[in-house]
């Protein structure tokens, strides 16, 4: 059952991930965004399989609820018909594909040779309470820092996307 779910979610994530970056049927950013949502959902499924329930919910909440909506809003604001008219650059496509495939192969080889395969039984349970303890004790400082980061995001986004006063 769990194995089946893993392969289902993994395949969904990878196939949708592929369709995000190189959809052969549509060059439209909206299609990419839709497939990115599916990828995110599949990843949340994998998180559940890894017993990270809290993170799975946060993943969906933040990505599907906030990040993707931002993307879609910008798509709606901009007129992006042009993308469809541009042709793929064959050279870049092939070159980039080969380069990335090589990197993937190398990394896969590295992964195969490393002693990780023998890792022990899964142990950690991602209970919300334990996460909270860690978050507000050991990682208190980065938590505050993220608050500052969000302030930066807010100030910056408001300034950048505001129309310049003539």
């Amino acid at each position: 059952m769990e194995t089946l779910c893993f392969y289902l979610f993994a395949a969904l994530a990878v196939v949708c991930g592929f369709l995000v970056v190189a959809n052969p049927f549509s060059r439209n950013p909206v299609a990419s965004a839709m497939f990115l949502v599916l990828t995110i959902a599949a990843l949340a499924g994998l998180f559940v399989l890894l017993h990270a329930f809290f993170l799975a919910a946060v993943q969906i909440l933040v990505y599907a609820g906030a990040v993707m909506v931002l993307f879609l809003f910008v798509i709606m604001l901009l007129d992006l018909k042009e993308e469809e008219r541009r042709s793929w650059r064959k050279f870049g496509l092939v070159g980039g594909g080969v380069a990335v495939a090589l990197i993937a192969l190398l990394m896969y080889a590295a992964l195969r040779q490393s002693p990780l395969g023998a890792a022990g039984e899964p142990r950690v349970e991602g209970s919300t309470a334990a996460l909270g303890e860690l978050l507000f004790r050991q990682y208190l400082l980065p938590f505050e820092l993220v608050g500052v980061l969000l302030l930066v995001g807010m100030v910056g986004v408001i300034w950048l996307s505001k129309r310049a006063v003539p």
């Binding site: 949502v37 919910a57 709606m76």
Partner: protein, 398 residues
Amino acid sequence: MMETLDQLFVLLKRWVVGEFPAAWRLWLSPLIDAGAIIGVFAGLFAVTTLLERKGLGRLQNRMGPNRVGPFGVLQPLADGLKMLTKEDIVPRAADRVVHFLAPIAMVTPILLAYAVLPFGRNLVAVDFDAGLLFFFAVGAGTELAVFMAGWSSRNKYSLLGAMRGIAQMISYEVPLVLSAVAVVLVAGSLSLPSIVDSQAGYHWGWLARWHVFTPWGLAGFILFLIAATAESNRSPFDLPEGESEIIAGHLIEYSGFKYALFFLGEYLGLFAVSALGITLFLGGWQAPVPFLAWVPSYLWFGAKLLGCIALFIWLRGTMPRLRTDQLMNFAWKFMLPLVLVNLVVAALWHGTAAWGFFGAGATRWLLGGAVLWLTYSALSHALFTAPGRGPRTYRYAD
């Protein structure tokens, strides 16, 4: 006897599942849950449409539907038949796949959200550790559905409606979640059944320990209700679908069964968020007074749900529609500060729970209430009555 009646559905399900071979049970149990939820709430949807039309009719000094069946009670059936038999029109320029998927993307996440709601004692499909978070997470899916509908129709009113809708849903999601966070803070759990449990018992034997009877809970519940109204695109926050302004917004290119699905999705969303409000603030399925505790828990829940729905219908019949700038200002400049202060008040309430001196409860109540009231009056003064903030003057319209 009453105990059995209270646990009727739980026992029933256990019996049904027990009749099947062990290998099936793993699958059967969630299927039964899902079937029951869909059945009950689709039925409630039918009843609500009728109630709403009747109620609105009375509010507007007319009869409402009264032709189909006695007193018009069969009207939902007639509406359903009409919807199903209508022609399904898809604009030629539309993105057909997305256009088709949008209603499904609307209804599915909302149905998923019902999985974590406790409808009665032990009557919850999944007791999930982070249930509240799950509820909001899947709720986020509806925004995508609104986008899909608005974008795929290739109609400018659709797109405008979708943009309005998404902006509104995102803006009001912040106070919605934050008012719920206050409850999480005090209850110390994200699991909805344990939040209900945290409201068990009675003060002095008669006043239920519901969160709504605390200063932060009362303010939080009101804020939650307002945000929930906006989340479910209901009047007075129905700008995305405003018929007179943008001819029903993202729904404009939908007809027949797909339209019915959207309609269903909106009502299911309304029920879900009402149920959440009940769970968070109104003690869930618990009885308001101890001597009525014998009434089965799901009946109490149903009664509270119907009460909430009635409230929403009343609101719809009473309030005029807002303007977009009013809508946004209200969310960001009024509700957000208030809900943040409410969070602080809830924290103080929780922190002073150990006070034991005589009159401690009253002191806490007065303190919390005073802080909230001061914030409220300061905000409303600054936003609505301060000099220069009076009635809007139209610079360009003259």
